[in-house]
Amino acid sequence: MTATTMAPGFRVLINFWEHQFIRFRKTFRSTITAGLVGPLMYLLGIGIGLGSQVDAGAADLGTDSYVDFVGPGLMAASAMQLAASESLWQTAGLLRWRGVYVSVAHSPLAIGQLFVGHVFWIGFRVVVSTTMYLLILALFGIVGSPLALLSPLVAALTGMAFAAPISAYTGWAISRGPGDQSFPMILRLGIIPLFLFSGAFYPIDQLPAALEWLARVLPVWHGVELVRGMVLGQDLDLGSAAGHLAVLVGYIAAGLAIGRHTFTKVLGT
């Protein structure tokens, strides 16, 4: 399809992604390096190192070894971490300190579209980074199903389930003016605990009841379960898979609905 036959509204969204891609390309080499080294460290340090102690205890993980359990779980949890960091400082920079989105708002792209484009772009970033994660998992012999090829897409949904509401929050925080100090707190008291309680390191039924309940309500555990099932080729039943997907999509939809308003508060008042 050429630019002239596309609806202008969709055409500018493509231009937005093109813009983001060209910015992203400038840091491609370091992205690739970090994207491969990070998972390697986690798998060696936690999967193999810590795993050597866990396997000896014959924990009830439902996998052959601890590294099989933790590898795909970390892949999904890393999607959350990347999405969260992109949605906090990076997004604040684009909205205010660098003003890139301020200029974009003066193009024919509408602010609501910009927010949708923004969240899906972070989804794409997650696909790139989790594909590298998957490569490392394959290197460790952890991949057990062709379905694994689709797991970066599910990881992207997991990332977007955080990117949409957190970016929406960032828009609100920025709209209240400078001096917002909440970002480090969100990371330390929100994302890092969620990383630990995501079900990536151990099944969430090991958690105290209140934390287990919290893990079920928030999106990351749903992503962890789906990605682990797809990578390992476990017999995921369709009902629970659909349930996990519905939670992820629900968070994305809610974040998109709110974010268009908070971005408008920053860019359009």
């Binding site: 630019a3 202008p8 509204g9 055409r11 500018v12 231009n15 937005f16 093109e18 813009h19 060209i22 910015r23 400038k26 660098r98 003003g99 890139v100 301020v102 200029s103 974009v104 708002a105 003066h106 193009s107 024919p108 792209l109 509408a110 602010i111 860019l267 359009g268 008042t269």
Partner: protein, 303 residues
């Protein structure tokens, strides 16, 4: 031809604060129009409404014949906006800033490339085409943001405080470029708190103060209507008490000097000297928009 901007009773409120209080504006196609006023007068809020990103609280607004609330993308596709902050993309080179922005307006890659070359030449940035944005001086960055705003060959260009923060040399270069645009028939709408800028660049202007328009006209008619032809500025030692009341058409005492509005500054000065009221220093100059603002509001434009 349609009017570039038409506003009637245009109002913008933020909570209890009224930033723009029911202003009427008519910017004709092809003219260069300025909004002159001090910081906080409501100029930028008006610009943001015209740029379609900020909805009006009430009143009527048409930009390039269309309504911003419903036709925002169509209006923006024919408009160029130069905001107060340059908002350049520091991840991109100078050339890429123009090209990639052009893509948003439907330019093909080859058209975007050609347009970037043309605009880099216009902005005198050709030799910096592949430089990183952060290596540019303030004046260069401002010229690049103007070049970028021209990538869609806009019918209307909005410039919010285009030369604020620039040194005199950079300002003059920018004025010269803007004058070229005006010569090409591009409608310019700019805000400024520099009266010399408004005098240099605008065919017509409005003077804004406290969210309202207090005067409207060409620079010369505004000066003719509100102040005399010449101004005599006189200074006396701090302890001197000199009666200047009956001089000229009007006098304006300032902190450090007194302005006397008169048809002939030299004649009024001679009158002072002849009556034994010789000032310690004096200056005769043409009256300008600064004097118009002072006459209308009792305050100076730039404190």
């Amino acid at each position: 031809m349609e009017r570039a901007v038409h506003a009637a009773g245009l109002t913008k409120r933020f909570g209890d604060f009224t930033a723009v209080d029911g202003i009427d504006l008519a910017v004709e196609s092809g003219e260069s129009f300025a909004m002159l006023g001090p910081n906080g007068a409501g100029k930028s809020s008006t610009m943001r409404m015209i740029s379609t990103v900020s909805p009006a609280t009430s009143g009527e607004l048409r930009v390039l014949g269309k309504v911003p609330d419903t036709d925002g993308p169509a209006i923006r596709s024919r408009m160029g906006v130069v905001a107060q902050e340059d908002n350049l993309d520091d991840a991109l080179t100078v050339r890429e800033n123009i090209m990639i922005y052009g893509r948003y307006f439907g330019l093909s890659w080859s058209d975007a490339r050609r347009k970037a070359l043309e605009l880099l030449d216009f902005a005198q940035l050709t030799d910096r085409a592949d430089a990183q944005v952060n290596s540019l001086s303030g004046g260069m960055k401002r010229r690049l943001s103007i070049a970028r705003a021209l990538v869609n060959d806009p019918d209307l260009v909005l410039l919010d405080e285009p030369t604020t923060g620039l040194d005199p040399q950079a300002r003059h270069l920018l004025w010269e470029r803007l004058y070229q645009l005006k010569e090409r028939g591009v409608t310019l709408l700019l805000t400024t708190h520099y009266m010399d800028e408004a005098e240099q660049l605008s065919d017509r202007l409005v003077v804004m103060d406290n969210a309202r328009i207090v005067a409207e006209g060409s620079p010369s008619t505004l000066i003719a209507e509100h102040v005399s032809k010449e101004v005599l500025e006189v200074r006396y030692p701090a302890d001197a008490t000199v009666d200047l009341e009956s001089l000229g058409h009007r006098i304006e005492p300032l902190a450090d000097r007194t302005l006397v509005y008169t048809d002939s500054g030299e004649a009024t000065l001679a009158e002072l000297v002849n009556s034994g009221r010789t000032p310690s220093s004096s200056l005769v100059r043409r009256a300008g928009l600064e004097d118009v603002f002072l006459a209308l509001t009792g305050r100076r434009l730039v404190e």
